[in-house]
């Protein structure tokens, strides 16, 4: 759970280099953000091999669509994180993923179990717990659904049988809690 590796480049310089497709910058971005992105991907997709495939796809997409990134609309990490989450959720809902769950062989099961023991598989219990232990369970439940399970806030409201407004409020409350804990 390392913090971001510091780069000598500032974020605007990094973005410029990325948009100019400087090969060296990809390695820099990868070393800076791959663990943080993989942390999210691997919680959405617990199958190690598939999660790593998605991480690769994420960086391919970052590399190929860097030109579409607009700094005025948000931070670079937010943009990359949304690519990672969208690809993860797409994978989770794809036929490939459903088949791979049915056809998991012994080898995969071993790494699957290892992964469960080593890191965090179930976002309801393990992974998020370390960070948001002071987050109230009802706040955490909503954030987990939206952040780690690919639910829209509308779907989360249906799932939790809560009014849409309540779900929105709880998401905001959860993030405010997080902001406090980081400051």
């Amino acid at each position: 759970m390392s913090a971001l590796k510091k780069s000598t480049l500032t974020e605007p310089e990094l973005i410029l280099a990325l948009q100019q497709k400087d090969p060296a910058v990809l390695k820099t971005i990868y070393s800076m953000y791959s663990s943080a992105l993989y942390g999210v991907i691997s919680r959405i997709i617990t199958h190690t091999e598939l999660a790593e495939d998605v991480l690769q796809e994420t960086f391919v997409k970052i590399w190929q669509s860097a030109a579409h990134y607009d700094q005025t609309k948000g931070r670079l990490f937010t943009w990359m994180m949304n690519i990672a989450r969208n690809l993860s959720i797409d994978k989770l809902r794809s036929k490939d993923f459903k088949n791979s769950l049915k056809n998991q062989d012994i080898e995969n099961n071993v790494s699957f179990v290892d992964e469960q023991n080593k890191v965090t598989f179930n976002p309801d219990v393990l992974g998020v717990k370390q960070l948001v232990s002071n987050l109230k369970p009802d706040l955490q439940a909503v954030l987990d659904l939206v952040y780690y399970k690919g639910f829209t806030h509308v779907e989360a409201a249906e799932k939790l049988n809560l009014p849409l407004g309540t779900v929105k409020t709880r998401i905001r409350m959860a993030i405010i809690e997080l902001r406090r804990s980081f400051n």
Binding site: A36, E52, Q56, W63, Q130, Y147, H153, R172, L178
Partner: protein, 283 residues
């Protein structure tokens, strides 16, 4: 927009949903518009983004090292050394597989050669054994023939021995007169002995001391005694190879001046056939 309205907008949670990517394109455009207009919205968005970024960093998980290698390979950005590494790693298991296959095939080939060699040796051994067996069989047959020869020799010698012993015994005794019958003109090499007992007048012939020409199936010998110039039959006898005893007792005769043997048809004749006389001898 009033300060109260702006606060309500910020607190509605729509900015969080924007950062989480959970808004429709129209809603997202609206947020961007608001951010462009109001620094408070921009500040709030930046805080939310930073919080989510920290949240992700705190929960970071290191992927395995080969993801980066694969990624650089997919994008065609990998350094030369990794280009070399990958094909080697890909080929290695193939080589191992071929090796194991080869050694298996080699082993099987050796086994096949060994089997063929064993088969050839077995066939050769079988052939040699068969030849030896045939030779042994032939030897047994020839030994059996030899054995039969020896057996018949032994019985013949026994037969002759008995005749000779008897002859010696009669020669020593005073009762017996030995008459030598010599071959006549028709068969000069023939000879035989007749033993005549002076006491009881019995007559014996001895095959052991007999040498007469062979007769055919339908003829046999007939012994005659000449009594005052007249031939008297003393009985018939077969050639020596048909005889069962060495000594054969003939008919008795009171008186005789000579003995003779002729060849007569089976069963004998009343009068001797003079031209077929073989031997003759006086008392």
């Amino acid at each position: 927009m009033s300060v109260e309205n702006l606060k309500a907008y910020i607190e509605s949670g729509v900015l969080e949903l924007y950062v989480l990517g959970d808004l429709s394109p129209e809603e997202a455009a609206q947020v961007e518009e608001m951010a462009a207009l109001h620094p408070e919205v921009r500040t709030e968005l930046a805080s939310i983004e930073e919080a989510m970024e920290q949240y992700a960093i705190q929960n970071a998980v290191d992927p395995s090292a080969n993801v980066e290698t694969k990624l650089l390979d997919v994008l065609g950005l990998n350094p030369e050394e990794e280009k070399i590494k990958i094909p080697v790693a890909a080929e290695e298991p193939k080589i191992i597989q071929l090796d194991t296959n080869n050694s298996k095939i080699k082993t099987l080939r050796y086994a096949l050669v060994a089997c063929v060699a064993l088969l050839v040796v077995s066939i050769a051994a079988l052939f040699v054994t068969y030849n030896k067996l045939t030779a042994a069989h032939n030897e047994i047959v020839s030994l059996n023939i030899d054995k039969q020869k020896f057996a018949s020799n032994a019985s013949k010698m026994e037969f002759e021995n008995a005749g000779l012993e008897n002859m010696i015994a009669m020669h020593d005794s005073k009762e017996w007169a030995t008459i030598k019958l010599q071959g006549v003109k028709t068969s000069p090499s023939s000879k035989m002995m007749v033993y005549w007992n002076k006491e009881n007048k019995s007559v014996l012939i001895n095959y052991a001391a007999m040498d007469l020409p062979k007769t055919d199936e339908s003829h046999e010998y007939q012994l005659w005694a000449l009594v005052n110039g007249k031939p008297v039959s003393l009985g018939v006898f077969g050639s020596d190879d048909r005889a069962k005893e060495a000594l054969v007792k003939m008919q008795t005769i009171e008186e005789a001046q000579a003995f003779a043997v002729t060849i007569e048809p089976m069963g004998g004749s009343i009068n001797p056939t003079m031209e077929k006389m073989l031997v003759m001898g006086g008392v």
